[in-house]
């Protein structure tokens, strides 16, 4: 539909079409960047080994956070519901996996399952909690909704902390089930659990889950429910007048958005082999939301990019840059600067630098790096110049006719 629409538009107004129809230099560059990025992600473990980057310890974590950002993008980007407590679903996903697979779980004497079953169940448990959060907030909008979700994000880790008899509280839960992968060991192909330190296997497991998530989200965005979300985001009252079931549509946004973080949480818990409530504090919600905003709210590829960039900054760049600066400090040997540089620890300034960067971004490019087209219009204010023209011409004609 949009392909036909774009071509007819291009015919009417070439200047307008140039920007839009994807065959422009701009579009080619964008697609090339995208393809390169996907190939880079798919081959990253090999690249890492080849170049001796030694970043495989950090990269799976970045991917998990990117999946979180994709899930949050459904709630915030597609449906327009601001959620500040997204880490709660991450925690719920992680603890679901722990409950179902860990020998320290209170369920251990009665029921244990393997990682994959636990992962799928944590998908549904997180979705259920999405509905539990969504149901009382149905009538809330904007700021009020944000406050309730914020509270939810604070309550969940606190409940986990205090339900000590089940969750082990602050001591956390250990020995969470590990996924099996078809691998060769001792010359035999079989399903073996991922050996804890084998980050490449973790990487590809998460990459696969991420790819499935992207595909699912892409299909969702272009489905009936996706259109209902966008209509609701634009104008709830009008969406209701079109026969969209607002209750159902909102609850589905919360449930589906939460379910992706359920996935992510279970993998996170299994990869770390340990979870406690402190891993899911407010800063997680904020970072994930920042990933969504940085990349461009509502745009799946933008969000993936935002997740990669912020994850890279958070987990790799700050510590690396610290050692670079220290190296420089040692090398230059200047009186004051050297001693400062040698002592510096950028990881302490992580949030400060990040905050400043976010402020600059919001001032210069409020729609994010790769905005969803509709959303960009929203941010820049309604109509372009052509609308003004249309109104004035029409009003003039009308006025002329009256006179």
């Amino acid at each position: 539909m949009s392909a036909a629409a774009t071509t007819s538009k291009a015919r009417q107004n070439p200047a307008f079409g140039l920007r839009r129809n994807g065959q422009t230099p701009d579009g080619v560059v964008r697609n090339a960047v995208l393809v390169t990025f996907i190939i880079f992600l798919a081959l990253y473990p090999i690249i890492d080994r080849g170049l001796g980057l030694q970043k495989m310890g950090a990269v799976p974590g970045i991917l998990i956070f990117t999946i979180l950002a994709l899930g949050l993008n459904i709630v915030v980007g597609f449906a327009g519901l601001l959620d500040l407590g997204y880490a709660a679903f991450f925690a719920i996903g992680g603890y679901t996996a722990a409950f179902l697979t860990s020998p320290t779980s209170p369920l251990a004497p009665y029921f244990q399952t393997n990682f994959y079953v636990a992962m799928i169940l944590s998908f549904f448990v997180a979705a259920l909690f999405g509905v539990i959060l969504g149901a009382p907030t149905l009538r809330l909008r904007g700021d009020y909704l944000a406050i309730v979700t914020l509270a939810f994000g604070e309550i969940v880790p606190r409940v986990i902390l205090n339900l000590e008899q089940w969750t082990k509280g602050a001591r956390g839960m250990k020995a969470i089930g590990v996924p099996t992968l078809p691998t060769v060991q001792n010359g035999q192909v079989g399903l073996y659990e991922i050996y804890n330190q084998n980050q490449t296997e973790w990487y590809y497991l998460i990459f696969t889950v991420g790819a499935i998530s992207v595909f699912a989200i892409y299909r969702l965005a272009h489905s009936r429910i996706g259109r209902a979300w966008m209509a609701m985001r634009e104008d709830e009252l009008a969406a209701g007048a079109m026969g969209i079931n607002l209750v159902q549509t909102k609850l589905l946004a919360f449930a589906i958005g939460a379910s992706f973080s359920g996935f992510a949480g279970s993998i996170w818990a299994s990869m770390l082999q340990f979870i406690d409530p402190f891993q899911f504090d407010f800063s997680i919600s904020v970072i994930v939301l920042a990933m969504v905003i940085l990349g461009g709210i509502g745009n799946t590829w933008g969000v993936i990019f935002g997740g990669a960039v912020l994850g890279f900054y958070d987990r790799i760049l700050t510590s690396d840059a610290t050692s670079w600066l220290r190296g420089i400090g040692a090398a230059v040997d200047l009186p004051v600067i050297s001693s400062v540089l040698k002592e510096i620890d950028l990881t302490n300034f992580k949030f400060g630098i990040f905050g400043a960067a976010l402020v600059i971004l919001m001032l210069t490019r409020p729609e994010g790096l790769f905005p969803n087209r509709a959303r960009a219009l929203e941010m820049k204010g309604e109509a372009g110049p052509e609308a003004g023209d249309a109104i004035t011409t029409e009003e003039r004609t009308a006025a002329g006719a009256r006179a």
């Binding site: 009252l237 007048a241 026969g243 079931n245 609308a387 109104i391 009003e395």
Partner: protein, 256 residues
């Protein structure tokens, strides 16, 4: 929402002949919290009619439409569609029963294209063939929209947005069309175009309940009318009679 009473969303649409009244409000009281907005409104619309509801700002015109379309629920009284109560249904269920509202202030999806807006209008329907036919019908009614199918809704002029809002409502294939202030903010020329189209829509078999401040135009196209004042119907009757009524002339037609 509180809609447990009747939960068959895709209730079969009944033949027009079953009940003589397309729409009926019986002693409807609607509140906004503690504010008593509708104080016993009773009115009816017969099949194939254009009925207009006129009144000043704050008289309760929009509240009446919202009560019909299910956005608000009456605390007392009944809303009947072809003799069936709909006052406890959710808005989307009412759309499925063939009542669609073109809301006040147009409220088109400004970031979607004209085509996408019209497609959203058919959201509740699944009959692809009939939707395509209705799409053509709407474009025939509003040729201006045909020229602008790929344009973003927000870039349309006020008149075009109104056409889009009505067209979008028609895409749900309603049997009763609720129009809230279609003339609002439009140049007189365009108001005439819109009203001509409303008559044409009605001629194609759609029952219309028209809420208007522009009483002159509304009474010209309607067969009957009601006058609403502070939540009460104070006058009702054939449109020509209302046009001759001294009180109506003074308050709403600007004739001294």
């Amino acid at each position: 929402m509180s809609a447990p009473a009747v939960t068959t969303p895709a209730a079969p649409r009944r033949a027009a002949s079953e009940s003589p009244l397309a729409l009926e409000l019986r002693d409807v009281h609607t509140y906004y919290g503690h504010i008593h907005a509708l104080k016993g409104v009773s009115l009816n619309v017969q099949h194939g009619e254009i009925v207009t509801l006129i009144g000043a700002n704050g008289a309760g015109k929009t509240t009446t439409l919202r009560t019909i379309s299910g956005v608000l629920h009456p605390r007392q009284g009944e809303v009947l569609l072809q003799g069936d109560r709909i006052d406890k249904l959710a808005p989307h269920q009412i759309v499925l029963r063939g009542v669609c509202q073109s809301p006040e202030g147009r409220r088109i999806f400004s970031r979607m294209t004209v085509r996408e807006n019209l497609e959203m209008g058919a959201f509740a329907r699944r009959d692809a063939g009939a939707i395509a036919a209705d799409f053509d019908r709407v474009l025939a009614l509003f040729p201006r929209l045909k020229e602008r199918l790929a344009q973003k809704g927000g870039t349309l002029s006020g008149g075009e947005q109104q056409m889009l809002a009505i067209g979008r409502a028609l895409m749900s294939s309603p049997r009763v069309l609720l129009l809230d202030e279609p003339s609002m903010g439009l140049a007189p020329m365009l108001v005439e175009t819109i009203f001509t189209t409303i008559v044409e829509i009605n001629r194609q078999g759609v029952t219309v309940l028209l809420v208007e401040q522009n009483a002159l135009m509304a009474l010209n196209v309607a067969s009957r009318g009601y006058v609403l004042e502070t939540g009460r119907i104070v006058l009702g009757g054939p449109a020509q009679e209302l046009q001759r009524n001294e009180q109506v002339q003074k308050s709403y037609l600007g004739i001294e």
